[in-house]
Amino acid sequence: MTVDSEPQLSDPSDGGPHSTPLLELRKVSKHFGGVRALHEVDLTVHPGEVVALVGDNGAGKSTLVKLVSGVERPDTGEIRVRGQHARLDSPRAAAEAGIRTIFQDLSLCDNLDAVQNLFLGQERHGPVWSGRRVRRHVMEEQARRVLESLSVKLRSLNTPVVALSGGQRQGIAICRALISDPAVVILDEPTAALGVSQRGEVLDLIGRLREQGRGVVVISHDMRDVRQIADRVVVLRLGTRVAEYRRGGYTPSELVSAMTGAHEPSDD
């Protein structure tokens, strides 16, 4: 069952609502041994757009994230960033191309404080003769600005992040991605394992990323999240893109049946 609610998506080079897409996947395929994880998948992300990627387990969502974040390479197909062909051979290469991924486990070091986590691996430091002394004041100032830009409120920048709430931790993980000012931010299950109010906080964060004109890809299981934040929903099933909807152009049951491939609502 294929539900192409928008004619535009069969033609990814068509430009979309805005100018050049920030991120564009063209007929990307990936096999693991004999298993077809992704088959000729197209995906475009425009500036200031939130694209939700949904699908059942094994639909290829994580594979797609791995390709775009530089963890895995596609077998065939092309990835373009800002209209330019991009080789995302490593996480570093992806970061340099302007794509930052926030994994589900957030990858925060619990024993470090917010500033240290925000700059982990990209610390601002002094010359070698000083032993690469960390320029804490510069980092704190930048941290305060980034946290403010997403309205993440912390009581202190010096508390280990283990003491923070789930929403605050998610906020720090997202802000960490923003330190290098990426064009595209990918969030893997950002609201999983969060309470109701924290979930709202994180959805607000995603909204602010959109306001900043970044392209956002959200992988989610949660249909409420998807309906609330996504400008576009891309449905994957068994490694192929089976449907794409615009905001308001679908019902929850349509989405579920696209994900599961069920024709009758009872076949869940």
Binding site: P91, R92, F103, D105, L106, S107, L108, C109, D110, N111, L112, Q116, L120, G121, Q122, E123, H125, S130, G131, R132, R133, V134, R135, R136, H137, V138, E140, E141
Partner: protein
């Protein structure tokens, strides 16, 4: 843990006023020097979430290398010291390779400890002992800095501390961060009190003993490196969450290697200072309770066995706590078992506190 130390001191002082005499405090300081230096290295390894059992025996091997080269072969002292440090780092390099290959560090260093016990027999001459009495090697421990120079050093160190704090204060002001002058005055007063108090106490007899200066300089360097530099942040990150550190682009394996190399160098210095104090190296150098005391010192001082938490000062503080107990027990003429009971109890309590702080409860499922 400072409270524990104060309690221990108060108890022993109430039993024997000689406990807090200048002479005994100097003795106590010299007794803990070896443990403190070794514990300092152990802290680096614990911080990245590994453990080491071999460094105490390694310290004996390194001391044998240094003493053999300087006393038996007549090479200059600096050459012997450099060779010992290089040997310590080389042994740790090999062990770290095995750890990075995936063998648990507990096993690697347990095996390494046994191998090193054999190696010390190879390094020592056939009579299995080197006496360093009367040689330049013995001056490592016996040298003393005159009181006047010591006070000057304390003054310079205090001024340097104040200057560094002022520098940080101005840095923070320049970016409009919160900065308060209390963060300069209070710590500076504390540092001055500790430095001048320490110099005053320790120069009562013959001037400041050289080993004390060695420990002080090593602690200072270690403090700067672990708290002020990028290396320090990465060290704690690797200990906190290896996966996250790896994803952030931190060379996790290299950080683990560095920690073992630091421990190797510390072990060499500890071994040489100890040999110089004991006036010789023998088969038993580095054996006995030294290894467990060093680990216990780090843990009692607040460094977590699970990695990522703790500080350099835990080496000094823990060595002081453990040293204070054994010194007091000996001073009071109590039997050795009392010393073991007390040291063991303090260790268990300290680790229990560590577990509670890490997990929130001693047993899972209570919260």
């Amino acid at each position: 843990m400072l409270v524990v130390l104060a309690i221990i001191w108060a108890v022993f002082y109430s039993q024997s006023p000689a406990y807090l005499s200048f002479q005994n405090l100097t003795n106590l300081t010299l007794q803990i020097v070896t443990t403190a230096i070794l514990a300092l290295g152990v802290v680096f390894v614990l911080l990245v979430g590994e453990i080491d059992l071999s460094s105490a025996v390694l310290s004996g091997v390194c001391a044998a290398v240094a003493a053999g080269l300087t006393v038996n072969s007549g090479l200059p002292l600096p050459v012997g010291i450099a060779a010992a440090v290089a040997a310590g780092m080389a042994v740790m390099f090999v062990q770290a390779q095995a750890v990075m290959f995936g063998v648990p560090s507990l096993i690697v260093t347990l095996g390494g400890m046994v191998i090193l016990q054999g190696l010390i027999l190879v390094v020592l001459p056939p009579e299995f002992t080197i006496s360093v009495a009367g040689t330049p090697f013995a001056t490592i421990a016996s040298a003393a800095i005159p009181a006047g120079t010591s006070y000057a050093l304390a003054a310079v160190a205090t001024l340097a501390f104040v200057a560094y704090r002022l520098f940080q204060y101005r840095e923070r002001l320049s970016t409009g961060s919160l900065a308060s002058l209390t963060t300069i005055i209070v710590p500076s007063a504390l540092v001055a009190a500790v430095l001048f108090g320490g110099v005053f106490t320790l120069t009562r007899q013959r001037g400041l003993p050289m080993p004390v200066l060695i420990v002080a300089v090593m602690l200072l360097i270690a403090w700067y490196v672990t708290t002020q530099t990028r290396y320090g942040i990465h060290l704690y990150a690797v200990g906190g969450d290896r996966e996250a550190a790896q994803r952030a682009g931190i060379p996790v394996r290299r950080m683990v290697l560095y920690s073992f190399l630091v421990l190797g160098a510390c072990a060499a210095v500890a071994g040489m200072v100890d040999a110089s104090r004991q006036l010789g190296v023998s088969v038993t150098s580095g054996s006995g309770p030294l290894m467990l005391n060093a680990i216990a010192a780090a843990v009692v001082g607040g460094t977590s066995l699970f990695g990522g938490r703790g500080s350099i000062w835990s080496a000094l503080l823990g060595a002081l706590v453990i040293g204070s107990i054994s010194n007091g027990v000996q001073l009071l003429g109590l039997s050795t078992e009392v010393q073991y009971f007390a040291t063991g109890s303090v260790l268990i309590i300290a680790v229990a506190v560590d577990v509670v702080l890490t997990r929130g409860a001693l047993l899972p499922g209570r919260r």
